[in-house]
Amino acid sequence: MSQSGNIIASTREIFDFHGGIHPQECKTLSSERPIQQAPLAPRLYLPLQQHIGKPAKPIVAVGTEVLKGQLLAEPQGAISVGVHAPTSGVIEAIIDHPIAHPSGLTDLCIVLVPDGRDAWTTLHACEHYEQLSPEQIQARIRDAGIAGMGGAGFPTEVKLHPPHHDKVATLILNAAECEPYITADDRLLRERAKEVIMGLEIMAYVLQPGECLIGIEDNKPEAIHALQQAAQGTRIDVVVIPTKYPSGGEKQLIKILTDKEVPSGKIPADIGVMCQNVGTAAAVYRAVRYGEPLISRITTLTGEQFPEPRNVEVLLGTPIDWLIAHYGYRPTQPERLIMGGPMMGFALNNADTPVVKTTNCILAPSLKELPLPPPAQACIRCGLCAEACPAELLPQQLYWFARAQEYDKAEHHNLFDCIECGACSYVCPSAIPLVHYYRHAKGEIRQQRLDHEKSDRARVRFEARQQRLEREKAEKEAKRKARAEAAAKAQAAKREAAKQAPDSPPAAPAPAVPANQAPPPSIESLKTAWEKAQAKLEKMQEALEDAKANNPEQVEKLTRAVEKNQQRVAQAKTAYKAAQTAPATPVASPVSPPAPPPESDLEILRENVQKARAKLDNVQDSLEEAKRNTPEQVEKLTRAVAKNVTRLHAAEKALHDAELARSPAAQAAPVDLDVLRENVQKARAKLAKMQDALDDARANNPDQVEKLTRAVAKNKTRLDAAEHALKEAESTTSNENA
C-alpha cells in the first residue's frame, strides 16, 4: 500500500457509494510476476458467442487454411461481434463444445488446429489515429471483433454509438479491478500503460467527451504510477479511489467519480457517462494502430493450487485444462476451478472449455483458502445484507420473495437492479446463497416474460384464425343462399312458362313439365284411401282399448299410433274432398293434355305413402316386442301388420298412378321410361345388397336376421312396383307411338 513519492494526487473530489465490503484481496499472489506469453495449444476452440448479443456466423468451411487474424465468423445483426483466427492453421471442425458458462452446456465452436507458423494475415496499420474519422475508427473496432473485456462482453463498437446521439459528458476508464485475486488489469497497466492511455484517447477522439477519467483503486500503487506517467501531457485525469468491493461495478464507479446515479432500468449513457475497461482500451489501441483483431487477452492464473500464480497473455480459444496444466496445476480432489473472481465468478464444470474474450481470471483455490460454503441456515433478519448492498436494495426481502416464488413482488423491489456482486452473500451470517436465489429469480422472470410474449402471440393468432373461419363460413352461407335464390327464381320462371304451356300446341315438348305438373288424382282411389284409413283408425283404437285393458306398456305406443291415424284420416278426407270439388278437367277430353292439378295433391299422396311405411315399421316393431313380452297380443298385431302392408301397397299404388297420370304420356314418356328403368335397376341393386346383408346376418348376427328379412321383403315389393310401373309406361309409349 506504500505510495511512491512522485505521484501527483488528483485534486478531484470523490464520493462514496452505499454499502460495499472489504474481502481479503489476495492480489499479491499473482501481481508480482510479469505477464508471460502462453504457448500455442495443439487445438483452439473458438466459441461463436463470446459476447452479449447474437452469435457470430461462421464464414469458413471445414478444412480451410486460415492465417492469424483472419475473420472466421462475421457478426450477425446489430449487437454482435466477429471471431478471428488467433493463429494460422486449419479449420478442423465446427462443432458443439463445452464453453465457459455456468451451465456447463455446449455451444457451437470453430476448432482450429495451429500449423505453428503463426503467420499473420495482411494488417492495415495506422500511425496516427487523428487521420481517421470517428466512423473509420468505429469500423476498425467493429472489424477487430472487440467486446468489453471486463466481464460482460458487450460489443465495444455498439457502445461507442451512444443512444440518441447523446453527448457523452464523462468517459471513464475502469481500472478499479475491485474483485479479489484478479490482477490482469493491474499487470497490464504496469507493463503497457501507454497502450491503455492511447486506447482511451482514441475512444475520447470518437466520443468527444467533456472529461476523461481513469478510476483506479489505491491498492495498485505501481499501476497508478505507470498510468500517471503515461497520462502526462494529456487531459486524462487519473483518480485514485479507496479500495472497497465493488467499486469496479460500473454504476458504483460512476457514483464514486461523478456522484451521479444511473436510474433503475437505464444505462450510464442515459446520464451522459460511459465506462470502458482497461483491457478493452488496450485492444482498441492495437486494433486502430496496428489493425490487429482481438485474438488474445491477459488472464490471471491464480489460487494456491498453482505453484506460480501469474498473469499470462493467452490466445483466445486455448483450452483451460491445457493452459493450467502447462502452468503447473495438478488437480486435487475435489477439483475446483472458478472462472472470474471468487465473488462474481462461476465454477467451471468442464476444464476443457476455452479461454474467451471475457475470461479475466482462472482461479484454482485450495479448500483452505476458499472453503466450500457451509450449509445455509435460516435467515435471522439481521439486516447486514441491506447494509452491504451497493445497489441500495433490500436483499432480505428479495430473498423471501425469490424463495416463495413471488416474482412480481421481487420485481417491484427492483430485483433487476441487482448487480449480483455477492456482497450480501459474503456478509450473511447464515451463509444463505442469496445471489443464487436472485439469479434464479431473474431467470424465472425472464422466462415468464418470454412465455407471456409467446402466449400473447398465440392468442392473437388463435383469434385471427377463429375470425377467419367465421368469415369463411359466413361467405359460404351467403353463397349458398344466393344459389338457392337463383334456383328458386329459375323455378318460378319455369312455372310461369308451364302455366302458359296449355296455350301452345301440346306436341311441343317442354322439358320442365314432368317435374312441375301434378297428376290428376282419381277420385275413386282417394275415396278408398280415406275409407281404408278410417278402417285402420278404428282397428287401432280397438287395439288401444285392448292394450289399456291387458298390456299397459303398449298403451303409449298405440296412443301415438291412433293419433297418427287420425291425422291420416283427416288428410285422406281433405284430399278426397278437394278432388271432388274440381273433377271437371280430367274427364274433359282424353286427347288434350289434362290440366295440371295442384301440386299439393301429389305431395299429400307421397306423404301418405311415407306415413304408411313408417306406420308399418312401427306396427312391426310392436309385433316384435309383443312376441317377446305379450304373446296374447301377437295375433292381433300380426293382423294389424298384414292390414298395414295392404294399406301401404294401396297408398303406393295411388301415388304411382297419380305420378303416371300427372304427365301427359306423349310428352313425358321418353324421359319417364329412362327414369323408370333406372328406378328398376336401383331397386334391383338395393335388393341384391339387402339379400347379401341378410345372408351375412344369418351367418353372423342372428338378431338382425328378422329385420333384414323384412327389409328384403319390402325391397322386393318395391322392385315389383318399379317393374310394374316400367312395363305400364312402356306399353303406353308403344301405344302412343302406334
Binding site: S103, L105, T106, P374, K442, G443, S455, D456, R459, R465
Partner: protein, 195 residues
Amino acid sequence: MSAVLTAILVLMGLALVFGLILGFAAIRFRVEGNPLVDQIDALLPQTQCGQCGHPGCRPYAEGIANGEDINKCPPGGEATIHALADLLDVEPMPLDAEHGEEKPKQVAVIREAECIGCTKCIQACPVDAILGAAKHMHTVIASECTGCDLCVEPCPVDCIDMVPVDEGIAGWRWTAPHHSEIIATDRQQPSEVSL
C-alpha cells in the same frame, strides 16, 4: 321538530344527488364484457390444445369465470393453477390427471420426407403455425407452435413428432438453490470433512 325534518330533508336530498351520480356513472362508465374472463385468459398458456375440454383457452377462461375448476390445464401446470388461485382467491388444487399431465414444453416437427401434403394438420392447428398447401410438403413454424399436439392425430401417415423444446445454452436458467434448514451445530460438519 323542524330541526329533525330539516335533517331528514337534507339527507334525502344528498341521497338523491348521490343516487343520480351513481346511476349516471353506472351507465356512462359501464364495463363492456367480463373483465374477469380477460384476466383469467391472460394467465392461461394459450396453447389452445383443448385438453381442458373446451375449444380453446378463452372458452375455458369463461368456464372458470362461471365456477369451473381451475385445475384442468396441463400445459399451464402448477404455476398456472397457483396464479389462477391467487387471482380468484380460491385454494390451489393439484392438477386434474383426467385432463393430462404436465409435460415439458414441446414443439411439433414434421418429418418432411414423409409428408404427403394432405393439409389435415393445417386444418387442425389452432394457431396457424403450419405452413403448406395441398400436395405440397408442410412444415411447422417452430416459433409459433404452442406444442398442443392437435396436429399429430389427424396426420394420416404419422409423420409429425412432438419433440421437447431445446433452446440450448440460450434457454438455460439458474436452477433454484435447494434450501435446507439446519441448526447451528450442523455448521461445523463441512469444514471438518474438508480438513
